[in-house]
Structure formats: C-alpha cells, structure tokens
C-alpha cells in the first residue's frame, strides 16, 4: 500500500516535470554547441552535464574557458552563480523532513531553479521525496538528452526554432507563478516589488548576487505584510487565525 503510494507520487512528480523538457532540451543543445566550439570533446561535454547539472554555470564556464580563464576563476564563478541553490535547497528539503538524509542528499543533487519552483509551489499534501525524485528524473534526463543531441549534431535545428524555444523556461515560471497571485493580491504586490528590486540591482551588481539579495530581502519584507493562506477564507482579513 505504502509502496504503491510512493509510486503514484513518483509518477505525478514526473508528470509535473514535463513542461521542463521543452526548456531543458534546447538549452542543453545550446550549451553543448558552445562546449564543442570551445574545444570540448563529446565525452567532456556530456560529463559536465552529468556531474554538474547546472545550465547557467556550465555555459558561463565554457564561455570563460574560451577566453582563457584559469580553472580557479571558473570554479569560483560557478560557486557564486550556484549559491542561490543553497536557499532553494533549504526550501526543498524542508518539505521532506520525514525522509532519510540519504534520500535528501540524492534529491539535493537535482535542485535547480525549475525543480525548486515546481516542487515548492505544489500543494503540501502532494509533495514528498518520491514526487521530487520523479520530477528530477525528468529534468535530469532532458538536460542530458539535450546535451547529447547538441554534442553529436551541432546544428540541425533551424535557428528560428531554437530562438523561439528561448522563452520556454520563462513561460514555465510565469505559468507557475501567476495562478498563485490571482487569489492573493498581497503576494502579487510582493512579486512586483521583487521584480523591480531585482531589475534595479542587476544594474549595479552581478546578476547572480542580485538574484540572491532580492529573493531574500523581498521574502523578508513579505513576512510582514503577506498572508499566505487566503484560500481558507474567501476574503483575506488581517490577524485571524
């Protein structure tokens, strides 16, 4: 019975990951093309996707490699770019408290912007480690499939198609975010505040730092004025619990 339940959750996690496929395959291809042009072999290109599993930093590292950056600089830049995963991972594993550390460590490998966004906005009852593992199974596979396709056959996709696919991950974030805002205007206000904050900060500091600062700062501000459970009562009123 319990086994069965886990399977159902794993499958619903996989299903939730389907929209990511459309985003990850083209980005994986784009990364692989960059890596191959930078002089990476097919094996090296794929090995990086298999072990690192972080699109933005892989592209950045390959770009820096071409410019002749030192290994230390590239690794440090990767570390900074991925510090946001520390915050995201806290939110993800905080929803898996019942599971063993071993499972959590496995799940942690699959924390990306996308799996985090899907998992942490899912209803409390539906999400579990099994759900998350199903989800990252799909995201990990599509990321590596995209890499392999790009590494082998660099340019068989017409430019217009790959260019159009560039919107996929943004559209996915929008598709997850917006429905949560229609019933909670205070949360909507917080999202607008974060958007403005991040847009301003990126003008002055590196965008990876801007993302971390605006995410944390605005979530902190939100603690004081956002009510997270307005669904329970149709019209949100303050201080009722």
């Amino acid at each position: 019975m319990k086994e069965n339940n886990r399977k159902t959750q794993y499958i619903s996690g996989m299903r939730a990951g389907i929209p990511v496929i459309l985003g990850f395959i083209p980005v994986g291809i784009a990364y692989a093309i960059m890596a191959r042009q930078a002089g990476f072999t097919i094996l090296q290109t794929c090995a990086m996707s298999l072990t690192v599993f972080a699109g933005a930093s892989q592209m950045m590292a390959v770009g820096m490699y071409v410019q002749g950056a030192s290994i230390i600089t590239m690794i440090l830049a990767t570390f900074i770019l991925n510090l946001r995963h520390l915050i995201m991972s806290v939110c993800v594993v905080n929803r898996m408290r019942k599971d063993t550390t071993r499972i959590k460590l496995l799940a942690a490998f699959g924390v990306t912007d996308e799996s985090f966004a899907i998992f942490t906005t899912e209803k409390e009852g539906k999400c579990s480690a099994a759900y998350f593992l199903g989800l990252i199974m799909v995201t990990y596979t599509s990321w590596n499939a995209g890499t392999l396709i790009g590494a082998i056959a660099s340019d068989f996709l017409p430019v217009i198609i790959t260019a159009s696919l560039g919107i996929a991950l943004y559209a996915m974030f929008i598709g997850i975010l917006v429905p949560n805002l229609t019933k909670n205007w205070r949360l909507g206000l917080l999202v607008v505040l974060t958007a403005v904050c991040n847009s301003i900060l990126t003008q002055f500091i590196q965008s990876s730092w801007a993302l971390i600062v605006s995410t944390l700062l605005c979530a902190f501000i939100g603690v004081f004025f956002v009510d997270l459970e307005p669904d329970k009562k149709e019209e949100p009123t303050d201080g009722q619990h």
Partner: protein, 103 residues
Amino acid sequence: MDSTKILLLILGMAVVTYIPRAIPAVLVDKMKFSAKTEKFLKLIPYTAMSALIFPGVFTTDAEKPIIGIIGGLVAGFLAWRKCPVMICVLAAIAADFLVYCFI
C-alpha cells in the same frame, strides 16, 4: 594537458555545485524553524521566481526585447486564465515563433 585541465574543471564544478545543494539536506533535521522563518521560507519560491523572470525575460533575445515581452505576455495571460503550465509554455513558444516569422 588540455584534457587534464578540463577534467579538473569538471570535477571542481561538480563539487562546488553539489555542496550548496547538499548542505541543507544534512542540516535540516537539526534545525527547527519558528513560524516566522517558515513563512519566510514559504515566500522564497515566489520572490525567487519573480527574480528569475525579471529582468531576464526581456533579454530572451538580447537584440529583440519584443520576443521576451510577447512570449511573457502570452504565458501570463494564459496562466491568469488558469491554463496548465504546459499550455502556457507551448503557446509562448508558438507566439515567439510567429513573431520571428514576421520580423
């Protein structure tokens, strides 16, 4: 020489990307969050997603901000009308494809 360098790079990157992801997995059981902190953690997905979308969406195509704007608006409208995420994604891609055909 070059392949050693790349191997070291890949290994180093794998380590520094996994560490921030793994630390919370080890520590979370030892931590108890107050109600305020729980609320803070619950708000992070929304602020993080907002920061992931803005201002990045405007540079979906670095030379043509209209691509990000059209795709984003299409996705936003459909999401607002409660369409599944997959529909939002497909429609945004289709819309951008059409825009590319005409500009």
